[in-house]
């Protein structure tokens, strides 16, 4: 333990709550990603996982009384916004090719 690092005592309720929420967000995201075939839904699920991870960072930042976690998340949000535009553009292009949003339509690279 770094003696200079001011830390909250373990079990701080706000941190625990934040971590719980992030775990739930991540789990919902992963389950959604695995169970749905619609590419837009799958994309939304990845966003959920993203936010879960971000929330975990903020929580740990709080635990360490440090702003780095929050700075990171602001960066991630910016990047995620750009990436969301790109991903949705890709989805639109894929849709135009096969007239469907199902991810199962795309398996050309499969090794049968």
């Amino acid at each position: 333990m770094n003696p200079i690092d001011p830390q909250l005592p373990p079990g701080d309720p706000l941190v625990m709550l934040g971590l719980l929420a992030s775990a739930i967000l991540f789990a919902v995201g992963i389950v959604g990603f695995l169970s749905r075939r619609n590419m837009i839904t799958m994309f939304l699920c990845t966003e959920l996982m993203f936010q879960g991870a971000g929330l975990a960072m903020i929580s740990y930042g709080r635990q360490h009384m440090d702003l780095s976690g929050q700075v990171f998340v602001i960066f991630i949000l910016t990047v995620a916004a750009a990436e969301a535009a790109l991903a949705l553009g890709l989805v639109v292009l894929l849709y135009r090719r096969k007239e469907t949003l199902s991810a199962e339509a795309w398996k050309e690279l499969a090794e049968s």
Binding site: S35, R37, A103, E104, A110, E111
Partner: protein, 747 residues
């Protein structure tokens, strides 16, 4: 000839500097003899590139070769008794260490001009010019197709031959040697759509490679033993240390000999020459009879100082020459293709030349080269004229009485003249040159070669027989001929009186040239471009005897050829070696000795002195051969076939006919002993390559990644969720593992 003036001046400028002070200024022009054929070769290349469809390449070549001949004629008058080295430009000049002997290698583009060089170039360029003129008509059916290629190759040949003969060092000689080999290959394979021509070209090239290996090794050893490959320095080095007993020095003449045997078609490497007749006839006349095949004789004559110190090597040369002469003559007796008979006669006559070299008469050998060049070119060119006129017919059983066919009288006359020369009829030029060789064989210091004189006399009789077998069959007797099946590609224009393939249907019926029914075959006689060279070459053949006539009339008059040869390296060492022999006068000083110095010598043949005996026996052999031929092939032609049948009928004599007709099975022997094992080894190696290297190693390594990939292929099903489950499962496993460790650490 646009480029000539500019290049001319550059050659003059190059030649200016190093010329010896005492040399005649005309010698400056020697480079032209080399340059002009090169220029015409380049121009022919340009013609080919620009798709010239006229006889321009022929005109260029004839002009260039004529220019080279004129240059040589001019040099002939100017060349002195001492050799002159003309430096055209520096090429290779390396030194290392202190730069003394054995610490440097110099091979510049030099010309070594002495009388032997000029003598050789005289008939090479002269015959080259005439034969190029002949070819301009002979090859005219190929104008626009192969015409340019043909004359380009002829120019390259003359350039390379010039390099070979005039070069001032052995590297130049080697370059020329390979150059004439290349030109020969290109011209034998001229009709490259004919499989036989392609095979013959390859055979000539590959057989020559064996000889060339010998020449190359000899060149290396000469540098190793004497420290130079330049003639001028080499003669001095040899004079200083003539006979080293080291194996390297001893091996040089044997290796040179191998090279000479390859190029000059001697045993055991003669097999390429008969097949080389697949090339156009002017090529057979120029390259494979008159000039290139004498390069081996030139090599040994030029390098004679190296041979004279090695009596065993000289004896080997003599024996190979004598046996080749005999073998080729026996084969020539039983062939039916006119060109092939002349090819074997060429081999046989080359055998005489080597016999002459082996018994030490470089003069006799060179003289025979000279006379042979004319009459053999004449015979080939007349054969070509016949072939040209009779649609490729060369079978002597299917041609008869051409002397009476209109348009062929001159050609036939000249061919018969050539026959007399080849048979060495008394008082023809060839009689004198052959005489010189045989006398030397009988009087040689080396007892081992005396029997070759008798073999030479037997061959003289055989030669007379087979020569006049052709002469009497083809040119005398009743007029009777069948055309061949070749049409020179004349299908487009019928101006030569050629019948088309479908018209030549009268098979074996005797077609008379006179009657003019449409569709009958009319032989077309040659025009001026063929007639003029023939006449000039015939005149040359007659004049070749001139030096001997003069010597005969006036015994003090030295033979001109002998003076040419005596003032060159071909006589270096001959003087020292044969003080008690017949050549002592010859080598003494500038004037060559008299022929009748033989009489001083003790060798007797049948109780007469060698000179008289050989003269009489040679005449007798020649006349006997002609008489036998006269009976069998003119008076009673049925008797020849009857004789053949009788010989075939008896088991004891059957082998003679079969052997001679099938060329003593030498080709088959080489096939079985050399080609078959090589082919087997090649097939085995090819199988190893295909099975072990290609299939085993290369393809095996290539298959490894694929096999490895097959292991992991089921993981990639193509469904996105499949990949996601794998990934999430993996992460979960890692997480579980971390937690397990953490929990264990906590306890």
């Amino acid at each position: 000839m646009i480029a000539a003036p500019a290049m001319l001046s550059s050659v003059l400028a190059l030649a200016e500097g190093p010329l010896d002070a005492h040399a005649a200024p005309e010698l400056r022009w020697a480079g032209l003899a080399l340059l002009l054929p090169l220029v015409s070769g380049v121009l022919c290349l340009l013609c080919g590139w620009m798709k010239v469809r006229s006889k321009l390449p022929a005109a260029l070549t004839i002009a260039a070769l004529g220019g080279a001949f004129a240059t040589i004629l001019r040099l002939q008058g100017a060349v002195g008794d001492t050799p002159v080295v003309i430096n055209l430009f520096d090429w290779i000049s390396w030194t290392w260490g202190d730069g003394s002997r054995f610490h440097g290698f110099t091979a510049n583009v030099d010309l070594y001009i002495d009388r032997l060089t000029i003598f050789w170039m005289l008939f090479v360029t002269g015959l080259g010019t005439l034969i190029a003129l002949y070819a301009s008509e002979y090859m005219e059916s190929d104008v626009g197709k192969g015409y340019t290629r043909f004359f380009g190759a002829v120019s390259i040949f003359l350039f390379a031959m010039g390099c070979l003969v005039m070069g001032g060092n052995l590297v130049m000689l080697y370059l020329g040697w390979e150059g004439v080999g290349l030109a020969s290959y290109l011209l034998i394979g001229y009709y490259f759509t004919k499989p036989e021509a392609v095979a013959a070209a390859k055979k000539a090239f590959i057989v020559n490679r064996i000889g060339d290996l010998g020449l190359a090794l000899a060149l290396f050893l000469i540098w190793q033993c004497y420290g130079t490959v330049e003639y001028a320095a080499l003669w001095k080095a040899i004079e200083a240390a003539p006979a080293s007993s080291e194996w390297t020095a001893q091996a040089i003449p044997w290796l040179l000999m191998l090279g000479a045997f390859g190029k000059s078609a001697q045993l055991p490497l003669y097999v390429w020459l008969p097949d080389a007749m697949e090339g156009p006839t002017p090529v057979s006349a120029l390259i494979h009879a008159a000039t290139m095949v004498t390069a081996g004789v030139y090599l040994i004559a030029r390098m004679f100082p190296l041979f004279i110190v090695n009596p065993d090597a000289l004896a080997a040369v003599a024996w190979v020459g004598g046996l080749t002469a005999l073998l080729a003559a026996t084969i020539g007796m039983a062939q039916y293709d006119m060109k092939r008979i002349w090819a074997y006669s060429t081999i046989s006559q080359l055998g005489y030349m080597f016999l002459g070299l082996g018994v030490g008469t470089t003069f006799g050998a060179s003289y025979h080269v000279f006379t042979h060049a004319f009459f053999k070119a004449l015979l080939f060119l007349t054969a070509g004229a016949v072939m040209h006129g009779f649609a490729g017919q060369l079978d002597i059983r299917k041609l008869s009485g051409l002397l009476k066919v209109p348009g062929f009288r001159l050609v036939s006359l000249l061919a018969v003249l050539g026959c007399f020369w080849l048979a060495a009829f008394p008082f023809t030029a060839a009689f004198f040159s052959k005489d010189e060789i045989l006398v030397s064989a009988f009087t040689a210091k080396d007892e081992r070669v005396h029997v070759l004189g008798w073999i030479g006399l037997v061959v003289a009789a055989l030669t007379a027989y087979y020569t006049f077998r052709v002469g009497f069959r083809v040119f005398f007797g009743p007029v009777k001929y069948e055309p061949g099946d070749e049409h020179h590609g004349h299908d487009g224009h019928d101006d030569h009186g050629h019948a088309h393939g479908s018209h030549v249907s009268h098979g074996s019926s005797a077609a008379h040239g006179g009657h003019g029914h449409h569709g009958e075959f009319h032989p077309h006689g040659p025009r001026w471009a063929i007639r003029v060279p023939l006449v000039l070459i015939a005149v040359g053949a007659i004049l070749a005897g001139w030096p001997s006539y003069r010597t005969m009339l006036n015994h003090d008059e030295p033979n001109w050829v002998k003076t040419q040869v005596a003032q060159s390296s071909a006589y270096q060492g001959v003087a020292a070696e044969s003080h008690d022999s017949h050549d002592d006068h010859a080598a003494a000083s500038t004037a060559a000795g008299t022929d009748h110095a033989h009489a001083d010598h003790g060798h007797l043949v049948l109780g007469m002195d060698a000179h008289t005996a050989v003269g009489r026996l040679g005449s007798l052999a020649c006349i006997a051969g002609i008489l036998v031929s006269l009976y069998l092939h003119l008076i009673n032609r049925g008797a020849a076939d009857a004789l053949r049948r009788t010989l075939l009928g008896s088991i004891a004599t059957r082998w003679i006919v079969v052997g001679a007709e099938r060329k003593w099975l030498v080709d088959e022997f080489y096939d079985w002993v050399i080609r078959l094992p090589l082919r087997l080894v090649a097939n085995i190696l090819s199988a190893i390559d295909e099975l072990l290297l290609d299939a085993g190693i290369v393809n095996g390594i290539g298959a490894l990644p694929a096999a490895f990939g097959r292991l992991f292929r089921p993981l990639y099903g193509g469904v996105v969720q499949g990949y996601a489950v794998t990934m999430a499962g993996g992460v979960a496993l890692v997480a579980a593992w971390v937690i397990w460790i953490w929990l264990r650490g906590a306890n």
